[in-house]
Symmetry: C3
Subunit: 155 residues, 3 copies
């Protein structure tokens, strides 16, 4: 049977974790929209200051940086720096046929570490807390990638 | 037969859509180059102001932001926030074995929504138009990911 | 046999190249940390200037841009613009069942081009050198994607 099949419990575990991470990543875009609407600013394009049905009273400050929006953008960039590599590393790790308990620990551990990182970041906790959660996720990616590399080199 | 096989029409449809999206993403880098050459500026690195065969007359303004280049960079960032998650979500969605017509609607619908978003963005249409096309693509990712999550949790 | 199986030499080659690229991408985050610690600055968040065990003597300049850190961030952004699309394009290219020598040339050629690009970028070589290595990698992605698209359209 192929490794990439929902009947393979390790793959199904990966798919659950991957879907949660994709939903979270896409949610960052929507959260940016919510905060831009809330602040009526934080826009980035000159055309966003045109008078339109959704922007009846445009003013020049609307394209000035808005900290509540910028925070989401920084979180979003952190997502882009991490999640795509988890998605790739996790998928390839499935082909090494790890034990299910280990795969669950790594995949769900990653999801939890990223949720905690998000909470620490959006509530502006001190760097040490945010960095701890980020490090857990980063080490999980490094471990899976290293294990996969060793296995692939052995073929 | 494995889901991830070009003999599987749903997978072949995904591959066509994914390749078009990858080509479009890579084209953003090339478009940035074209606009930097056209503006003879919009550079980002101090070393880009050194006198070289391709930059015979360097001047300090070459690293100042150039709006024609910055627009492509904003479009490019939007690509990075969206397309990698479509690529992952679409691949995993294939394993749910959807009907071919539905897969074609979602995969090709995404491609069309992103092409229209690009045209709206590069021609500086009002936010409402750009946001509409973006929303279509984002909802397609959310739908595919949700459907895949439900299916994977059922295993 | 499924294409995505470590017993398939083309897939195993892809996995080795992909793992090396994932490790390199994650290393960019760690390099940013190393440089921020070294500069005791280049931070991005207001809360990073709070007095904490790791930042006993905070000062306002710590969130000012620091060129040694900014250079890594520019390199990192370049990684995000390129590597995720290599990871996707390479995986899909495996399903076209290319000759092993060609797959090795493209996959390992990409890895080498990105390592050379990194060295040229971090040592601030002139644009022509950096651009040459970037172009090699970008053309490899375009070739693999084009070949995959043609094959998928033929089904």
């Amino acid at each position: 049977m192929a490794d990439f099949n929902l009947g393979n419990p390790v793959f199904a575990t990966y798919v659950v974790a991957a879907c949660l991470m994709i939903l979270k990543a896409v949610a960052m875009s929507w959260l940016t929209v919510v905060r831009m609407v809330g602040a009526n600013g934080g826009f980035r394009n000159p055309e966003d200051m045109k008078k339109t049905p959704m922007n009846p009273n445009p003013h020049a400050n609307q394209t000035a940086p808005n900290e509540s929006v910028e925070r989401i953008r920084r979180i979003h960039l952190n997502v882009l720096e991490n999640v795509p590599f988890f998605l790739a590393a996790g998928l390839l790790y499935v082909t090494t046929q790890p034990d299910l308990w280990l795969a669950q620990l790594l995949f769900y551990g990653y999801v939890v570490s990223r949720l905690l990182h998000f909470i620490a970041y959006i509530t502006a906790q001190i760097h040490e807390i945010r960095a701890t959660f980020w490090t857990v996720g980063s080490v999980i990616i490094l471990y899976m990638t290293g294990a996969t590399l060793v296995k692939a080199l052995g073929y």
